[in-house]
Symmetry: C2
Subunit: 197 residues, 2 copies
DNA sequence: TTTGATTTTGAGCGATCGTTCAAGCTATTA
DNA sequence: TAATAGCTTGAACGATCGCTCAAAATCAAA
């Protein structure tokens, strides 16, 4: 009945996501994309509409991928909070060198688009909010399992977590000091547990 | 003997700095620069060499300007640490709306150039390091004035400060919640003082 | 095997990019 | 006042930008 689609949408989005993550929206050209996803401009535009459309889906792909990674770490760990900490160590220390960028793509987007592209800025903010909400659920889950005191403020802890995590991630962008990073991550989780109850 | 220079170098650099800060390096065109600094391309290139050269000087101008602002706040305050806190409140709360960008230009640069432009990345890292060094001096100064215990770890406090500050700044990028910001800044300084001695 | 709906292809559009440079202008000196 | 050194000007270069679309290719249904 028709010609069939040759590319794998998810694969293309992951590759585009990594490229945008590394080079930013303005710093990435459609020809860069063509080369890394092996598609011709006509197919790209037929599928994603525009550079902005492709970026939007790429950012969502990034956020979902991170969410899934976090789920994996939590599932494998003995407790939700231990899983969260292992996830942080993975992001800041283990995956740091082979990652497209040392900073969170969501914050990179938020910083690039604030005041420049309201639609993409708002979209990035929405995803950032969903991250914080997800972390609240992690703490809630730990609380339900009796791993945190009953007066533990999970919303406050999630907020502190997001702030400290992005601070640490920025600090170790381009800095290769795994043992220091490990120290500061330990310290961060200690403060998190102690100061929210 | 010759025609005279018509522009004010410092004024031009501050305007270029604000533009680069807002739009990023890749997102800013020389024609954008021409319009905001009111210079023709020939003059710009005769003065700064290239877009990269102008950016480099603009980033330095930003860092110096922030350093001077911090000095002002410290001079006006009763203690160095109070000055530091007022400076943070100025950056995150007061100046937030009329600032070119809600995130630190140094970290924006660091994030944009890591893996893309080694020269500019290294330059941004150098300036970031100098910020941390400056904050160490602030804490040292407070210590010398007897405002901190003798075993207060100023290097550690400066490191924690830089991490928390950038975390907070990113968190409040595009978010207008001054009272929450004030709360979290207070909390940050309390932790800073208590945990480094 | 033919038909036809659908996807892929890639040359190329107009706009904009960073940058150059010959020509014009300006203020000091002789 | 004429000469000249140094700055400003802006047209224009080749490259690249995001994007379009007619033509070619593909595969299932008839």
């Amino acid at each position: 009945m028709a010609n069939t689609i040759k590319f794998n949408r998810d694969e293309v989005l992951h590759k585009a996501s990594d490229l945008f993550w590394a080079k930013g929206f303005a710093g990435t050209s459609i020809r860069d994309i063509q080369d890394t996803v092996n598609m011709r401009p006509g197919s790209i535009y037929a599928t994603f509409g525009s550079k902005e459309g492709l970026y939007k889906e790429s950012l969502l792909t990034y956020a979902q991928g991170m969410g899934e990674k976090l789920d994996e770490y939590i599932e494998q760990a003995d407790s939700p909070i231990e899983g969260l900490q292992k996830f942080v160590e993975y992001i800041i220390i283990e995956s740091a060198e082979h990652n497209p960028s040392g900073v969170c793509m969501l914050y990179k987007a938020s910083g690039e688009f604030n005041g420049q592209n309201p639609a993409l800025f708002e979209f990035s903010q929405t995803l950032i909010d969903s991250v914080e909400n997800k972390v609240v659920q992690v703490f809630d889950s730990a609380k339900q399992q009796g791993l945190l005191s009953t007066d533990f403020d999970t919303a406050n802890a999630a907020q502190q977590f997001v702030i400290s995590f992005t601070g640490l991630r920025n600090y170790f962008n381009g800095r290769n000091q795994p043992e220091l990073a490990k120290q500061l991550i330990d310290k961060m989780f200690l403060s998190l547990i102690n100061e929210s109850s």
